[in-house]
């Protein structure tokens, strides 16, 4: 999907484009290793949950993916604010690329939640507060991506996108707090910063390693996705230079 180009990327920033950095290689390797560890912990190390059985193991990927969607949209939120404040194209690009990753993660949350819901609640979908607010979150950022992809005026698209990216983020705390504010099918939080969570240590370890794996994946993919945008800018600049002769 073509989401726009950078007309005047600074020379130093453009240099990111053409080479694979050692940091990307390390990130890719660390992501792979941590995913292998996360799968081992989720399928072998963590005990089988007494009530739900093996299907509860969906939790070890479903929850970290949801948290990473929050992180991705938080980066959109910050990038949008900085873009509106400083008109920095680099932050606009970071926001746009992060929104794409956030939509991928939210799509996976909705799909895996629906699969998990069938044997657990007897329904693939229920219009409860958590699921409905997550669907709204997904829709907001799909609209954001469509706006960025189809706007003919790049600057205006970036401005409108930034406003939507900031307003859309208001739904993230609603999604997170929905299970506390309303009665939903989702259980109460099993992990808390105060240490009052109800998760056994083996399950908590599996969850945290999976969270680490997805965080590394997010950082790695965000860098790759940003590189795509810089390469496009390089190509546009090279074409312009060629046309000038």
């Amino acid at each position: 999907m073509r989401v726009g180009t950078i007309s005047r990327a600074p020379q130093q920033e453009r240099a990111i484009g053409p080479s694979v950095s050692w940091l990307d290689r390390i990130l890719a390797a660390a992501t792979l290793i941590s995913f292998v560890a996360a799968l081992y912990l989720a399928f072998v190390y963590a005990p089988t949950e007494a009530v739900q059985g093996d299907v509860q193991r969906i939790f070890y990927f479903h929850v970290p993916i949801a948290w990473l969607a929050y992180l991705a949209f938080f980066v959109v939120f910050c990038g949008s604010i900085i873009y509106l404040w400083k008109r920095s194209e680099a932050w606009d690009i970071a926001a746009r690329c992060s929104a794409e990753l956030g939509v991928v993660f939210t799509t996976l949350v909705l799909i895996t939640g629906s699969i998990w819901g069938r044997p657990t609640w007897g329904a693939r979908w229920a219009w409860d507060a958590r699921m409905t607010s997550t669907l709204i979150l997904w829709s907001v950022y799909v609209v954001y991506l469509m706006l960025r992809a189809y706007s003919t005026d790049r600057q205006r698209g970036a401005r409108y996108g930034a406003v939507l990216g900031i307003i859309g983020f208001a739904d993230v705390p609603i999604v997170q707090m929905s299970i506390t504010w309303w009665r939903t099918l989702h259980p109460a939080p099993v992990v808390s910063l105060e240490g009052s969570g109800s998760l056994p240590p083996e399950m908590l370890l599996a969850l945290m390693v999976s969270l680490l794996a997805f965080t590394l994946f997010y950082v790695w993919m965000l860098r790759q996705r940003i590189q795509v945008e810089w390469l496009r800018a390089e190509i546009d600049a090279a074409r312009e230079a060629n046309e000038r002769g």
Binding site: V104, I115, I235
Partner: protein, 55 residues
């Protein structure tokens, strides 16, 4: 025989991996296509040498 619950577990993880690997493949293809485009553009029109190296 795979029990009913395991089918859901398998389906969830299969979809996660298909989507994530599909996205990685899509982005890495874009990076590689754009790099080769850039290389051919630069090969067609190599940048001019600095002024003090010109005859």
């Amino acid at each position: 025989m795979v029990s009913g619950n395991l089918v859901y577990l398998f389906a969830a993880y299969l979809i996660i991996w298909v989507v994530l690997l599909g996205y990685v493949f899509y982005v890495s293809q874009q990076v590689s296509d754009l790099r080769s485009q850039l290389r051919s553009l630069r090969d067609d029109h190599p940048p001019a040498p600095p002024a003090d190296h010109r005859p």
